[in-house]
C-alpha cells in the first residue's frame, strides 16, 4: 500500500473555487517527488493539506494507512510526528541555539509538562547530535540560529524534521531564498535522506531544472489541478508549457541540457 494517498482532494478558500481541484495521487516509501507549477497554483496548499495545517474542503488523505481528515486533536499531533516539514524561511526560533531548535522536532512525542520544561531524554539528545553531525553542523551546535547563514539555517530545519523520525518530509520551497551553492548542498542532503534513510521527500520547487535533476517523479500543478504526473524523462516541452501556461521558449530554462548531460 502507498505511504501517502490523496483521493479527490479539493480545497476552496472563502467559497471561491479552487485552490485545489480534485487532486488525486499516491506516493510510495522513499520516493523523491517534486511539485512544480507557477506561483499561486496551489503547491503550498497541497503540501499543507497533507499534514492538515490546511483543512481540505472535500476528499480524503491517508498517511501511512491513517485517514487524516477525521482525526481528533491528539491523534492529529501523533500523525504530524510522522511528517516533517521544512520551510522557505526556515521558521526557526532565532534566539535559541541550533541544538535547541533541532530538539523542537521531538515535542510532538512529549507530554505537556516535559515539553514546556524542555526536558529531553539522553537518547533524544544523542540522536540530535548524530543528525547534526550528518548535516555538518557540528561547529554550530551551540550557536544561536540568528548567527547562521541561510544554508546553515535550512540544514537546522532539515535536522529538526529528521529528529522526528518521520516517514515523510514536506519541503515548501526549501531553496527559494538560497544561493546556488547552498541550494545544491540542501538538495543533495534531501536526496541522501530519501535514498539512504528511505524517507519520502515531497518538495515544492520553482526551479524546473532542479526538479529534473533530483526527482524520481514530478507532479505539475496549474490552477489547483494536476496537469502532469510522471518521471522527469517523460516531461516534454509541451507539458512544461501546460504547467506554466506560456510558451516554453519564454521560460528561463533549457530542456536540451538535460539530454546533453
Amino acid at each position: 500500500m502507498a505511504l501517502l494517498e490523496l483521493k479527490n482532494v479539493t480545497k476552496n478558500y472563502n467559497n471561491e473555487c479552487c485552490a485545489l481541484d480534485n487532486v488525486s495521487f499516491s506516493v510510495d516509501k522513499g520516493e523523491f517527488v517534486s511539485i512544480i507549477g507557477p506561483s499561486g497554483a496551489g503547491k503550498s496548499t497541497l503540501l499543507r493539506c497533507i499534514n492538515r495545517m490546511v483543512e481540505v474542503s472535500s476528499g480524503e488523505i491517508s498517511v501511512d494507512g491513517v485517514i487524516s481528515s477525521s482525526l481528533s486533536k491528539k491523534r492529529l499531533r501523533k500523525l504530524r510526528t510522522k511528517i516533517g516539514m521544512i520551510f522557505q524561511h526556515y521558521n526557526l526560533v532565532d534566539r535559541l541555539t541550533v541544538i535547541e531548535n533541532v530538539l523542537h522536532g521531538r515535542l510532538g512525542y512529549k507530554s505537556t509538562l516535559a515539553g514546556v520544561l524542555g526536558r529531553y531524554s539522553q537518547e533524544e539528545k544523542s540522536q540530535a547530535y548524530r543528525i547534526i553531525e550528518i548535516l555538518g553542523l557540528n561547529e554550530q551546535m551551540y550557536k544561536r540560529c540568528d548567527q547562521l547563514s541561510g544554508g546553515q539555517k535550512q540544514r537546522v530545519g532539515i535536522a529538526r524534521a529528521l529528529v522526528q523520525n518521520p516517514k515523510i518530509i514536506l519541503c515548501d520551497e526549501p531553496i527559494a531564498s538560497l544561493d546556488p551553492n547552498a541550494s545544491k548542498v540542501i538538495m543533495d542532503h534531501l536526496r541522501n535522506i530519501s535514498k539512504e534513510m528511505g524517507i519520502t521527500i515531497i518538495v515544492n520547487l520553482h526551479q524546473v531544472e532542479v526538479a529534473l535533476k533530483y526527482s524520481d517523479r514530478i507532479i505539475g500543478v496549474n490552477r489547483g489541478k494536476v496537469v502532469f504526473d510522471g518521471a522527469p524523462c517523460d516531461l516534454t516541452t509541451r507539458q512544461i508549457r501546460d504547467i506554466y501556461g506560456s510558451e516554453s521558449e519564454d521560460l528561463m530554462f533549457d530542456l536540451g541540457e538535460r539530454h546533453a548531460g
Partner: protein, 261 residues
C-alpha cells in the same frame, strides 16, 4: 504624468504644515495664552529656583527621615510592576493575533488592556482612595492597574512582532499549544518583554512620586509636606534624590538591556 506625483507630495506637505500652524495659532488665541509672557516667566522661575530651591547643608538633616520613604517608593513600584507583568503576560498571550485561543478571549483581553491603559494613573489613585483611603495599598493598586494596561498592550505587540513562522513550524511537528508558547513564543519575545518591564519600572518610580502626593505615602508625601511648610531646601533635596534614583535605575536597566538583547 510622472512629475505630478512630486507636485502632489509637495502640496500635501504644504497643506499639512498649514493645518499645523492654524491649529497652533488657533489654540493660543482661544486660550488667551500670552506667548511672550510665557517665555519671560521661564527666566523668572529659573532665577527664583536658583535663589531658593536648592538643598543647603541644613536640609541634609532630613536624610534619615526620607531615605526609608524613598526605598519604600522604589520597592512599591517594582512590586506593582512585576506583579502586573505576570498578569499582563497571560492577557497578552490570550489577546495576541498569533497565540490567541479564540476571538472572544482576544476581544476580552484587548478590552481590559485598553480600559486600564486609558484611565490616567492619577484618576486611578483618586478613585481607589475612596475604597482604601490614604494608604500604601492605594498607591500600589494605582500603579498596578496602570502598568497592567500598558504592559499587556506592549507584550501583545511584542508577541505579534515575533510572528507566525516558528509557531507554524512547531505546529507541524505535532507540538501542543503550551509547547509552542514555552518553546517558541516566550524565548523569542522574552528579551523585548524584559526591556518593556524595565521601562515600566522606571516610569512607575516617577509616577509613584505623584501618586504619593495624592495618597499621602512614600517620597511624594515627603515632598508635599516640606513644600507646603515652605521648606524649599528640604523639598528640593527630595526632588534631587528622586532624580538621582531614576537616573541610577535607568543606568542599571540600560546595562541589563545591553546584556539580554
Amino acid at each position: 504624468m510622472r512629475d505630478d506625483i512630486f507636485t502632489k507630495r509637495r502640496n500635501d506637505s504644504f497643506v499639512f504644515f498649514l493645518a499645523l500652524l492654524i491649529l497652533s495659532v488657533g489654540s493660543i488665541v482661544i486660550t488667551e495664552y500670552d506667548v511672550i509672557k510665557g517665555f519671560t516667566s521661564i527666566t523668572k522661575a529659573v532665577v527664583w529656583g536658583g535663589s531658593n530651591f536648592y538643598p543647603d547643608a541644613e536640609s541634609l538633616r532630613i536624610l534619615p527621615e526620607i531615605l526609608p520613604k524613598l526605598q519604600e517608593t522604589v520597592l512599591m513600584s517594582i512590586a506593582a510592576t512585576t506583579v502586573a507583568a505576570v498578569l499582563a503576560l497571560v492577557l497578552s498571550l490570550a489577546g495576541s493575533q498569533t497565540t490567541r485561543i479564540n476571538r472572544i478571549f482576544s476581544i476580552v483581553s484587548r478590552g481590559i488592556a485598553s480600559l486600564f491603559r486609558n484611565i490616567p494613573i492619577v484618576a486611578w489613585a483618586m478613585v481607589l482612595m475612596i475604597s482604601f483611603s490614604q494608604s500604601p495599598l492605594t498607591g500600589y493598586l494605582a500603579l498596578f492597574f496602570g502598568s497592567l494596561g500598558f504592559l499587556t498592550r506592549a507584550f501583545m505587540e511584542t508577541i505579534d512582532e515575533v510572528g507566525n513562522n516558528s509557531i507554524e513550524a512547531l505546529q507541524a511537528t505535532g507540538a501542543s499549544y503550551f509547547h509552542i508558547i514555552f518553546q517558541a513564543v516566550l524565548p523569542a519575545s522574552m528579551p523585548q518583554m524584559i526591556s518593556w518591564l524595565l521601562y515600566m519600572i522606571e516610569t512607575n518610580i516617577r509616577d509613584a512620586t505623584l501618586v504619593g502626593v495624592l495618597t499621602g505615602t512614600g517620597i511624594g508625601f515627603s515632598f508635599d509636606l516640606y513644600y507646603k511648610r515652605f521648606d524649599y531646601h528640604a523639598a528640593s533635596l527630595v526632588v534631587l534624590l528622586i532624580v538621582i534614583t531614576v537616573i541610577v535605575i535607568e543606568l542599571v536597566s540600560n546595562n541589563i538591556r545591553r546584556v539580554i538583547l
